[in-house]
């Protein structure tokens, strides 16, 4: 047993670290570590920089622009990016739509979409959830009717992250409302967001941010060439996507960086004339989070090692990374808000009010991160998965 990375892996880590130091734009990094919203331009600028280096889609097959790295290298790459304060590229194109196209797409679809995803030319978003289909995704109702050589789409999607930036959207739609099993009447369809009949309406969350949207489809005409895989086989595609690339869901690197920021904050803040970090009650809370994160890191490494040895993803157990990873993230956001104390209250300056640009982001950040245990399969759904698949319950 050996918990250390190999010499080559350590060298690789240094290479990524060094490259980030030179190439990560400082204004973007400041936004990330200061918990500011990124613009579409920020994301695309960063994507172009990565694409120029050949690092925008490391996990893709080499012939489509992947780097050929193994799982451990990809893990190290993600971790170094998170530690450096590099924004995570929105996963919808590179990590969600692309793997689906690579597995199920026609060559025409691959040619049309993959290079543009790789280069960051198109901003993709995800059309899965609906008002009546959250955890129960197979309940989607958005209707796609085949008329000659196109589909006519009517319905609504919700919680579309960064939908306001979307050039393209992939959607689960109902093509056969009569199917005996709900899962059998669903299809996976790609739509250009500029198609007439698509309306994006912002959903402002309690942190005041515009991150998610509702999307309405009113007689939207989509060419049949945009169907991925077979009609009514969308559930197969969706399931493949859900099982894809979940190793990073523990967000260990990002939590490490935020924990260090939390420590620094607690060092600066005073309680009874002494640094808050010296306060035993507060210190214990930080210690417990840090230890949970240590454990999460080792658990992630155990799964990586298992994949390396068996060539098999660890399956349902990966859900525990999502559960514990988001719990740790949420604990850190909460402690950061507590560390700021009264300074976490001011939000926006109305006239000449003093609003600290960092501490004023900590309460909104805490509010915002309540999402983490809800999105990407709520933590209750993750527990269902482990109960069923790992424990046979």
């Amino acid at each position: 047993m050996d918990l250390n990375y190999s010499q080559e892996e350590t060298k690789f880590r240094e290479e990524v670290h060094h490259w980030l130091k030179i190439n990560l734009p400082e204004d973007i990094r400041q936004k990330v570590i200061g918990y500011q919203e990124l613009t579409k331009e920020d994301y695309q600028r960063w994507h172009k920089i990565l694409a120029a280096k050949g690092w925008s889609v490391p996990h893709w097959p080499v012939e489509w622009g992947g780097t050929g790295w193994d799982m451990t290298q990809r893990y190290i790459y993600d971790e170094e990016f998170a530690l450096a304060g590099a924004p995570r590229l929105p996963p919808f194109g590179p990590a969600m739509c692309a793997p689906v196209l690579l597995k199920f797409g026609t060559s025409a679809q691959k040619e049309q979409f993959l290079p543009r995803i790789r280069e960051g030319d198109d901003f993709w978003v995800q059309g899965y959830s609906e008002p009546g289909a959250g955890s129960d995704l197979a309940a989607v109702k958005t209707r796609a009717e085949r008329v000659d050589d196109h589909y006519v789409i009517n319905g609504q999607k919700i919680w579309t992250t960064l939908g306001q930036h979307g050039d393209w959207i992939f959607c689960l739609v109902r093509t056969d409302p009569q199917a005996e099993k709900r899962q059998e009447g669903i299809s996976f369809i790609l739509m250009n967001m500029k198609t007439p009949g698509i309306t994006v309406r912002p959903l402002i969350l309690m942190d005041g941010g515009h991150e998610v949207n509702e999307i309405f489809f009113d007689n939207v005409k989509v060419p049949v060439q945009n169907l991925v895989f077979e009609e009514n086989k969308g559930w197969t595609v969706a399931k493949y996507l859900l099982g894809h690339e979940r190793m990073g869901s523990g967000s260990v690197g990002a939590s490490r960086r935020e924990l260090a920021a939390l420590r620094a904050l607690a060092q600066r803040e005073l309680k009874n004339g002494k640094s808050l970090i010296e306060d035993l009650r507060f210190k214990d809370k930080i210690s417990r989070v840090e230890i949970e994160l240590d454990a999460l890191e080792i658990t992630s490494m155990r799964f990586l090692d298992q994949m390396r040895r068996t060539g098999q993803a660890p399956g349902a157990d990966v859900s525990m990374l999502k559960i514990r990873g988001t719990e740790v993230q949420q604990m850190i956001t909460e402690l950061a808000m507590q560390a700021a104390g009264p300074k976490a209250q001011p939000f926006v300056s109305v006239s000449n009010g003093v609003v600290d640009p960092f501490t004023s982001r900590l309460a909104p950040r805490y509010f915002n991160f309540r999402k983490a245990s809800i999105y990407a399969g709520s933590n209750e759904i993750q527990r269902n998965i482990i109960a069923k698949m790992s424990l046979g319950l």
Partner: protein, 374 residues
């Protein structure tokens, strides 16, 4: 990076596990606990024959030169079987102290017997009113008028395995500071008052009244014992964490089985989501605790970084203490009334897990230590 055990490590753990399933079953364990000595000579001999007592001793002392990682899976098997032999106390603590601090003569006197199973040791360090402190406060060793000899006075409590030991390693204050002494349990002035713990172990309070010791009873340098005591305790704590993982696995397995069998409202209670999610929490918590046990074992084997070692061990112990509490409580709750009974193993696992949470310091103790090392 590699988390796989070597074939030898796996094989050893398998043999231990097989032996324990057959010869240290729940019923046989009960008989051992209720026997006069409270320990099993046969089990001890088997451990010695399997090489467990020699595993972490150096090759110079005819050991195998292994580390905590080599014993991790073995400790897990012992945890699953709720073994009540003072293995940790002999191999993790006393044996390690002798091996690291002893002169050639002292090692030659004690270690061959430890390896072959004929010698039994115990480490006497806890003192009344001082909770989990490792440094001696109330046990004093004074230089005797005879040059180089010592007189020992004081009292130790909760010395695990004292009654079955031939020699005690006793921590005591000398004018130079904390020191360690080898004391024959039969020596004049040594009084043992044994008890049985809530989790089935035999411990003793030991009284030392003017015990006279020869010069060669001093183990290591005068006043130089603390770094060794801290190291050995960290080593034993790492092993205890692995043992805890085994005990938690046993509780989880039993609970999962029970949930699938037990019917209420005409269906197995395993079909209730409220219970499923609690079981999942137990499972995740055990895996997270296992990760910390692995981390601790790897750090105690790295002798170059004592702060890193102490930090990892305290972190692991905090995690283990929190985890053992959750798993013990939930396993009883999900068993319902049956979980409360003496006849089910899960209630015994509950008791052991509860005591493991406190052994070598509870979560609060280690949070304080951890914070001091940050």
């Amino acid at each position: 990076m590699n988390f796989e055990l070597t074939p030898e490590q796996k094989q050893l753990a398998d043999s231990v596990s097989k032996y324990l399933i057959n010869e240290y079953s729940f019923e046989k364990r009960k008989a051992i606990i209720n026997s006069e000595s409270g320990v099993s000579e046969a089990a001890w001999q088997t451990f010695a024959n399997m090489g467990l007592t020699a595993m972490t001793l150096t090759e110079v002392d005819n050991g195998f030169g292994g580390g905590a990682i080599d014993l991790m899976a073995v400790m897990e098997a012992m945890g699953e079987a709720l073994v009540v032999e003072p293995f940790l106390d002999n191999v993790g603590l006393a044996g390690r102290l002798v091996s690291r601090m002893g002169s050639d003569a002292q090692r030659a006197k004690l270690l061959p017997g430890l390896i072959d199973g004929s010698e039994r040791l115990a480490f006497a360090y806890m003192e009344q009113g001082h909770r989990y402190q490792l440094a001696p406060q109330l046990t004093l060793a004074k230089a005797n008028a005879n040059a180089g000899a010592w007189v020992l006075n004081g009292r130790k409590c909760l010395v695990t395995g004292a009654a079955s030991a031939r020699h005690l390693l006793v921590s005591a204050l000398t004018p130079q500071g904390a020191s360690l002494f080898i004391v024959d349990t039969q020596a004049a002035g040594v009084e043992l008052n044994p008890s049985r713990t809530v989790d089935g172990f035999r411990v003793a309070d030991v009284l030392f009244s003017n015990v006279s010791l020869h010069a060669d009873a001093l183990l290591g340098g005068d006043g130089a014992a603390m770094p060794f005591i801290e190291e050995a305790t960290d080593f034993a704590t790492a092993l205890l964490c692995a043992e805890a993982v085994g005990a938690m696995k046993s509780a989880n397995d039993a609970t999962l089985d029970y949930m699938k069998q037990r019917k209420q409202f005409g269906v197995p209670i395993a079909s209730f989501q409220a219970l499923q999610h609690r079981m999942v929490e137990m499972y995740i918590t055990t895996e997270q605790a296992r990760s910390m046990a692995i981390l601790a074992a790897s750090k105690v084997d790295d002798t170059t970084n004592s702060t890193g070692r102490a930090r990892a061990v305290s972190a692991a112990k905090i995690k283990i203490a929190d985890a053992t509490r959750l798993i013990s409580q939930e396993s009883v709750q999900l068993h319902g009334g049956m979980g409360m009974t003496e006849e089910l193993k899960v209630s015994h696992t509950f008791r052991r897990l509860t005591m493991i949470a406190q052994q070598f310091g509870d979560a609060d103790h280690h949070l304080e230590r951890y914070a001091g090392l940050t």
